[in-house]
């Protein structure tokens, strides 16, 4: 494996904490201590979010963290304490994100949701967020159960999966990646909390995308869904995890330095100029082919595998604010002189009503 994305990290001075291009340390991207269960998959994702944003040298004050309701939705308190946060109501984070984006399109929006929050009450808003292509990195911390209400099945629980008390799920699981592709999402990826390297790479790529980026991360619930018979336990997920490709992320400010044998690597150019390198494992996978993505997802259901990696990308889609013919300056910074038409406008309107 190449370490292309690591090669240009500044060498830390002795005993000084390492800083990024902004001079900030990893600690500057942390939040309050987590109150989730020890070993929760969500905490592993939180660590990779912190790492990704730090390594990408993103200004924390330009980030907004958003979430709905549930264990996953608590996590924005555990990272990026220098960013504004919005822990909203159940399943309706997308509408808050849409409003915040329209008020200030320069903000980077990071949404964290869960399978309960997204695949049930939130399914409608999830769909319309995608349809509008609001630029949000939308992470689903997917464990197949409602954790905060103590272990009921969620709508992403696989058919045949068992609860702790032996109850078997007889209903079809909603595949949020398949659905996102169907709805026209421009960035769809799946990962596993137990594969931090893949996860952090996909997170960085999602941040570099302009538009809704859906990242469905299997994130085992150690308390309610980590037993034998569960299809979303650490053990099972690890066994069935089937990466589509090896991944490397090369930020826009770095050169690609490693040469690969022809036909073994596919470079995916991202919106901000960064590159995601997809390295062939068993087969060549083209993530710009929507039909192939759909087929691969359906095949994985048939095979009982957990297909991870970048499933689909279309970076040509225009995001929501850019199709509105809005002024370039954020609406949130417009003042009275910009917002209140002059008296002549009122006179003209009144004249027309006389």
């Amino acid at each position: 494996m190449t370490q292309a994305s690591q090669t240009s990290q500044p060498t830390p001075p002795a005993r000084q904490p390492q800083t990024n291009k902004l001079g900030l340390t990893l600690a500057d991207y942390k939040g309050s201590p987590s109150t989730l269960c020890d070993g929760c998959g969500h905490d592993a994702i939180t660590s990779q979010i912190i790492k990704a944003f730090w390594e990408l040298s993103i200004e924390p004050h330009q980030v907004v963290k958003l979430s709905g309701i549930g264990c996953s939705s608590k996590t924005p308190a555990y990272f990026l304490s220098r960013s504004h946060g919005f822990n909203s109501v159940h399943g309706r984070m997308p509408s808050i994100a849409t409003g915040a984006h329209m008020a200030n399109q320069k903000l980077t929006l990071l949404g964290v949701s869960g399978d309960g929050d997204t695949a049930s009450i939130g399914l409608g808003q999830f769909g319309h967020l995608i349809r509008r292509n609001v630029p949000v990195v939308y992470i689903i911390e997917n464990n197949g159960v409602y954790g905060l209400t103590k272990g009921q099945f969620s709508a992403t629980a696989d058919r045949g999966s068992k609860l702790k008390d032996g109850t078997v799920n007889e209903l079809t699981a909603i595949d949020l990646c398949g659905l996102a592709i169907e709805l026209g999402c421009g960035f769809v990826a799946r990962s596993f909390a137990g594969d931090p390297r893949q996860l952090v790479t996909l997170l960085k790529a999602a941040v570099s995308h302009r538009g809704t980026a859906v990242l469905d991360v299997i994130s085992p619930c150690v308390t309610f869904n980590n037993h034998a018979g569960s299809t979303k336990s650490y053990k099972t997920a690890k066994e069935i995890d089937t990466p589509l490709h090896g991944l490397d992320y090369i930020p826009f400010y770095e050169q690609i330095t490693v040469d690969y044998e022809e036909g073994t690597v596919r470079d995916v150019q991202l919106h901000d100029g960064s590159v995601l390198q997809l390295k062939k494992i068993d087969r060549d996978y083209d993530p710009t082919d929507r039909f192939a993505a759909d087929r691969a997802i359906h095949q994985s259901h048939r095979d009982g595998t957990l297909l991870t990696g970048l499933l689909y990308i279309d970076k040509e889609l225009r995001d929501f604010s850019s199709v509105q013919n809005m002024v370039d300056e954020p609406l949130s910074s417009l003042q009275q002189k910009d917002l209140r038409p002059p008296k002549e406008s009122m006179d003209k309107i009144m004249q027309a009503l006389m």
Partner: protein, 607 residues
């Protein structure tokens, strides 16, 4: 052609002329294009300087169901609905028989000859018109005949009631502005109707118009249009909405106005509008945008208000500014979607679970729809909370005369927002701390470039620093501060208006569009020897003025348009000591309240 204006002059009798004081009732089928003809008729009368008001009673349907348009002409300027119809234009065969049966003896009925309405009643004055033949004269285009029939009745009425032809033609030109062909066709059809009437009808009824000078300089507008103008001049920068009658035309008119008046020099919008997937999302977007620093709003009606309940509680608890319009219609549930009501008062005041309450502005006129809309945005940002503007279908969708709106005098109040320099000077801030003693904390906007700018917004328990807490003390402190903020709100709302009559033993309290019927009813009561004082509530929360008013009278009638007397209940809840002095007048048929209804009710109690 035979004159069919027939029958029963002996029964209608020779009466004195009734000038500029009657009501025209046009019964048509919706989707038939009668709306533009009715607007032309109303405007022509308005242009003659005669006070006029127009109300559209329409079905929840696109085409083929009965619709009535009422034009009240009143020299004294009364604009409330009145149940009496003096001139009926019975164009709808489905309802014609019922429509004629409801007329008072001596009323006028203009109808298509083939309906034979003179067989139904012979104690009204019939003018029977061969509309099909006249429409054939007006156009060879079969599709246009139906549309032009409507303007032909305007021509007929023009002759019968003395509507000046020149004013009709000016109104037509205005209605079809930019469409020369349509103007020509309509003018010609109106002339055909007028000429036929002149040659064939013997005027034999008392109703007549005569030029006055009471509308000079006035505008005609509906409440939704007035609110839209208010929102635009308030500097709204983000609108999220979901279509629902009777609120849709607020956002639609706002979009039209902003497309013309809110573009920068490069033609780019200084605003964004999102048609949301539902009201759950519409209010979420409005809160997200308000939180991020836009001046945001949404507009809906009762069913949408129900859906916005959870997020409204969030906005109250997490302290986020936004403006929510509720254009009330008849509930519960789908109810009567195209009829008017004041039935959302209590549910909106306390919208959401837990201890919540919200400032509500209650405009009574189109002027106030405009003014309160401007004010609502300042209040929302000052108080950092959702602010409601409650109108109703009658006010919002019907046509009202008004003085031209005044350009806003006050600058924007953007409330307590700290920028990076403030934070540097202060060394940080506590999001939910009551620094100034008015219950209103300071906030920062996302994107503020300072390491101490960020805070975490949540609907769960939070302390002064916006950190999660379940401590009893923190929760009580927070709720008590929100109550202090409520007291501050009392100082910001538009105060009620009292019209005291020193001879009056009784008072009337009303709000919103009920106002117009109350004005007229007070004159009626006064003529019956019952002088009254009047207090109009213009916003919630209440102030002591309500109590002072009730204290000053033996008893007080609270007049409103809902079944349960919701305003009376709220007054009683706030001032329990007043309970025995309060009486209720409630009108809840979905049809706008009229003066006679109130007068009869009060007179019965007082005699």
């Amino acid at each position: 052609m035979k004159t069919l204006a027939a029958n029963s002059t002996e029964k209608t009798g020779k009466k004195e002329q009734i000038v500029n004081d009657f009501q025209i009732h046009v019964a048509t089928v919706n989707g038939s294009g009668s709306q533009s003809s009715n607007t032309v008729l109303m405007r022509a009368i308005f242009q003659m300087g005669i006070p006029v008001s127009g109300k559209n009673l329409f079905p929840s349907n696109i085409m083929g169901l009965p619709t009535w348009f009422t034009i009240r002409v009143n020299k004294d300027g009364y604009v409330a609905r009145t149940p009496k119809v003096h001139v009926l234009v019975a164009m709808n065969p489905q309802t014609a028989v019922e429509d004629v049966k409801e007329l008072s003896p001596g009323a006028v009925c203009v109808s298509p000859v083939e309906l034979n309405l003179d067989k139904i009643r012979d104690d009204v004055k019939h003018y029977q018109i061969p509309f099909s033949e006249l429409a054939n004269q007006a156009t060879e285009n079969i599709k246009l005949r139906k549309l032009l029939t409507n303007i032909i009745y305007v021509g007929v009425l023009g002759h019968l009631l003395d509507v000046e032809q020149e004013e009709i033609e000016i109104a037509i030109a205005r209605q079809f502005e930019g469409k020369e062909k349509a103007i020509d066709l309509n003018v010609n059809a109106a002339r055909i109707g007028r000429q036929w009437a002149r040659e064939n009808l013997d005027k034999d009824d008392p109703y007549k118009l005569s030029r006055m000078d009471k509308t000079k300089g006035k505008i005609i507008i509906d409440g939704n249009g007035a609110a839209a103008i208010g929102c635009m001049f308030a500097g709204v920068s983000f609108v999220a909405w979901y279509p629902i009658t009777p609120s849709s035309s607020l956002c639609e008119q706002l979009i039209d106005y902003m497309e013309e008046f809110r573009l920068d020099e490069d033609g780019k919008r200084t605003y964004a509008v999102v048609q949301a997937e539902d009201e759950l999302a519409a209010v979420g977007m409005a809160l997200g945008a308000g939180w991020a620093g836009a001046r945001s709003m949404t507009s809906t009606s009762g069913p949408g208000i129900s859906l916005m309940s959870e997020f409204t509680g969030y906005g109250y608890f997490a302290e986020i500014p936004t403006v929510i319009f509720d254009v009330q219609r008849v509930g519960p549930s789908t109810g009567l979607p195209t009829r008017t009501s004041q039935g959302d008062l209590i549910s909106t005041y306390f919208l959401s679970h837990g201890d919540t309450k919200h400032p509500i502005l209650l405009p009574a006129s189109v002027e106030e729809c405009y003014e309160f809309s401007v004010q609502a945005f300042d209040m929302a940002e000052r108080l950092q909370t959702p602010v409601f503007v409650l109108t109703d279908l009658d006010l919002a969708m019907n046509n009202w005369m008004a003085d031209p709106f005044e350009y806003p005098k006050e600058p924007f109040d953007r409330g307590k927002v700290l920028n990076a320099e403030d934070l540097e000077r202060l060394g940080g801030f506590a999001r939910y701390k009551d620094v100034d003693g008015d219950g209103i904390p300071y906030r920062t906007l996302p994107g503020t470039n300072h390491p101490k700018a960020a805070y975490f917004t949540r609907g769960s328990g939070h302390n002064e620093n916006a950190a999660y807490t379940e401590k009893a003390e923190d929760y009580v402190n927070l709720m008590d501060r929100l109550k202090r903020k409520w007291e501050t709100a009392q100082k910001l709302i538009p105060v009620g208006i009292a019209d005291m009559n020193k001879d009056a033993k009784i008072g009337i309290i009303a709000f919103g569009s009920t106002h117009w019927a109350v004005l007229e009813c007070r004159d009626q009561l006064s003529a019956r020897g019952i002088p009254t004082s009047y207090f109009r509530i213009r916003a919630l929360p209440f102030t002591h003025r309500v109590k002072d008013f009730v204290d000053a009278h033996d008893h007080v009638y609270v007049v409103e348009q809902n079944r349960d007397g919701q305003m009376l209940d709220l007054i009683r809840m706030e001032f329990p000591m007043l309970a025995t002095k309060l009486h209720s007048v409630r009108h809840y048929s979905g049809i706008p309240i009229d003066a006679q209804f109130i007068t009869d009710h009060i007179a019965e109690q007082e005699n």
